[in-house]
């Protein structure tokens, strides 16, 4: 009747917050999960993201290990899908970038030589749509603002000590995203009768991630 195994909640966060993460917490004792600690104090083990799949690339030929890049309005998430994520691997085969996708993933932090690389291990990937993406952005903006507020109250000493995050910077980034979303939504409402192709609404800028320090593998 009551399952005692605890399932981790899928956290909502933007790539800017995720990619600035440098520390892990938890993992003490065999059963305890490992969490990526973000500069805004989120402890995440599982995340849910809706964004644009921009790249999928096999790391080595015939390795069945795929590097993927998914953007949100603030940047992009790096992810790896291999045979250890069979469901995600299956669906990825049928998806060709660029495409809006929803992703449920485990959050990981690779650590080598004083550097850390946050990345995603998707559990499932599915084609989504603009409406879902917009709602995800809204929901994620709300969750991020809530975290900023909590930190301003000075509640999370560990995060303040480890990261001393620039909260104004994060807040400004969230407000920018919301203003852009408002602009797009106003356009959509104006054009709703014509049903034209909607603009992507954010820049798909290239970003090169240097993986030379990291051995990517399981």
């Amino acid at each position: 009747m009551i399952r005692s195994a605890k399932r981790e909640v899928a956290k909502r966060l933007f790539s800017k917050e995720f990619n600035s993460s440098k520390y892990k917490v938890g993992g003490e004792g065999e059963k305890e999960a490992v969490y990526v600690l973000t500069p805004l104090g989120l402890r995440c083990n599982r995340v849910f993201i809706v964004g644009v799949l921009l790249e999928k690339e096999e790391v080595k030929p015939d390795s069945d290990m795929w590097r993927i890049r998914i953007t949100d309005p603030m940047g992009s998430f790096l992810g790896f899908v291999s045979k250890f994520q069979p469901e995600a691997l299956d669906s990825l085969a049928d998806i060709n970038p660029p495409e809006i996708v929803s992703v449920t993933a485990k959050a990981k932090l690779l650590e080598r030589n004083d550097r850390s690389l946050p990345l995603l291990r998707p559990e499932n990937i599915n084609v989504s749509d603009f409406e879902t993406r917009d709602y995800w952005v809204l929901e994620t903006a709300k969750a991020t603002l809530k975290r900023i507020k909590a930190l301003e109250m000075g509640e999370d000493k560990i995060v303040l000590e480890k990261y001393n995050p620039n909260l104004e910077d994060f807040r400004k980034a969230v407000i920018d995203v919301l203003m852009k979303l408002r602009e797009e939504q106003t356009v959509i409402e104006d054009e709703s009768e014509e049903e034209e192709d909607k603009d992507l609404g954010f820049e798909l800028d290239e970003e090169i991630i240097d993986l030379s320090d990291f051995e990517i593998g399981d």
């Binding site: 009551i2 599915n126 709300k142 909590a150």
Partner: protein, 307 residues
Amino acid sequence: MADDRFQAIVEEIYEKFKIYGVTRKEIESRLKLLLYEFKVPEEEAKKTIINGLRKNYNIAKSDLKPPLTKISEIEPNKWVSLKAKVIQLWEPNSPAIAQTGLIGDETGTARFVVWAKANKKRLEEGKCYLFERVVIDEFMGLKSVKVTSASEVKEINENIEVKEEKAEVEVVGALIAIQQNSGLLQSCKICGRVVKAGVCIEHGKVETNDILRTRCVLDDGERIYDLILNEDNIKALTGIGLKEARKLAEEHLDRGIVLLEIKKKLLGRYLRVQGELRFRSLTANKVEFYRPKILEEVEKVLREAEA
């Protein structure tokens, strides 16, 4: 002194000591003596009786715990002790909270909060605990049990049967996983259990009925719900009913195709579900894709953020 005030004091002391076998009569006679014959102030009389009883029954000060109470009887602002099972843990939304969730006993369920400052060992879902010296408060009409640094929490080796409570709820969340045993399934004609390859674990090789069902996980970023969608729910969302599912399976000579189609249409989507919540299990009465008024919401959040 009014009679009801007198009785209230007796009752208060009795609650503290009843587990040690103290009778009301004993307390009454001492209180009468101190109050009416020696004209001692009320508070002093109370203190004296409590100290006296502690000495008589050899009870250490730290052992004098609030009475064991059932969840259905807890009242705001009272200190109590409870034996309860941890039903569910939820995501704390403040670092001041170490753990939060739902506990229950045979009389009902209540929310609980363990403050980070209380510095307690972590509770686990499904285990039973004795919560001593916890305080009850009321938040938005719901009673909630607070574990503070003054409280003691011990795991107990007994199983508490929790009274099942159902609640009508409306939840908006993302459907982030679809679990095994979903899609076009076969159930045993005798017991209704799902069977694999026509063999029921109870009844062996049996005749079967086709059923369409999906077990999935709805996640709103703070809490998780095990959502069960029946044939009507699935049809309303995906257009695939039992008839369509059978046709799909026949065309592809594979029942698995039904689950794949359902996954394609539902995974990663936001749903609004009205249904019945039993602990974490949500049974949908009405379910639809969530279509929020994004522009309105964005403006609201912006106003708050810029304020």
